[in-house]
Amino acid sequence: MGRAEGLPEQGLMTASEIAVHLLGTCASLEHFDAYMFGSTLNGFGQDIDILIVGPGGDLLAQLKKEMRCAGQSLPLHILYMQPSEECHSQFVAREKCIPLAQLASSAS
């Protein structure tokens, strides 16, 4: 096991804390549907998998800027999809994605 002092995952943000952080720092998320999926939902993941579904163009460009700032000290792995792509792939259902808003509301 790791030799870091204490449990290595101590001090890392939980899924709920990450959701609060992203929703609080990325104002443009209001125009998109944002989800988390993958191992971070179960406690810890090597990456933090985020799915963003919504429009392209300037809104997306602005959101990407905000997400870059928000992810300065986080290993965000972000997948951007158009609504038609999500619909075609059924990604949200398939990967059991949880809305960031739902995760944020469960933060203590």
Binding site: G2, P8, S89
Partner: protein, 212 residues
């Protein structure tokens, strides 16, 4: 301790097959039974260029591996060449974990792109490969025709990934979905056509190279 070191140590602790300890700054040591210890730098930079690679190698005596922790980390061709010539392995965190287990950290290359890079180089009709970035290859065929090929490793490449590749690296002739189980989304194919490139899998790419 910076964030990427915390994540790296936590990941090794979770996987359990190797152990890891913080040495200093961005450097960790990874220990695996019956394999040599690995001294690795874990960087949070978005792009590793030749200067960045040289800086890490010169400042860390005995560096075995340079790891770009961010999933979005891009490696420039000159950095790759520099690291390989100096026997420093390179790649993402998954590559580091595998290299520590296999005992080949000094020669390991980013495992996301390793096999497709080799596939291109070994294809009979290819005369020359210029690796501009980890995922961008300029391929010259024996016929003299050149293709600039961009690789996307995702399972289902999206329109945004095709556009982002084009914006970040410039025009390409072909976007190659290198995930063997991958299927590009119809919107990704459309985005490629709108930009002026084709999104394809290896069989189509091979066909394209054989006819050019």
């Amino acid at each position: 301790m910076n964030w990427q070191i915390k994540y790296a140590l936590a990941s090794f602790a979770k996987a359990g097959r190797s152990t890891a300890e913080h040495v200093s700054g961005e450097v960790i040591r990874i220990m695996t039974q019956d394999q040599p210890d690995v001294l690795a730098a874990i960087t949070a930079v978005e792009t590793v260029n030749q200067a960045t690679a040289a800086q890490y190698r010169e400042q860390i005596a005995g560096l075995d591996f340079l790891c770009g922790y961010r999933a979005s980390c891009v490696w420039e061709g000159e950095a790759i060449q520099y690291l390989e010539q100096n026997r420093v392995g390179w790649g993402n965190f998954g590559t580091l974990g595998s290299a520590a287990l296999d005992g080949d950290a000094n020669s390991a290359a980013h495992k996301v792109y390793k096999f497709s890079d080799r596939l291109l180089r070994q294809y009979g009709r290819v005369a020359k490969v210029d690796r501009e970035f980890d995922r961008i290859h300029s391929v010259t065929l024996r016929s003299g025709v050149t293709f600039r090929i961009g690789m996307i490793a995702d399972y289902e490449p999206t329109a945004d990934e095709v556009r982002t590749l084009w914006e970040r690296f410039g025009p390409v002739d072909i976007v190659w979905n290198i995930n063997p189980n991958g299927t590009p989304q119809p919107d990704a194919n459309e985005a490629g056509r709108a930009l002026g490139c084709e999104v394809m899998k290896w069989d189509e790419l091979k066909d394209c190279l054989s006819k050019a």
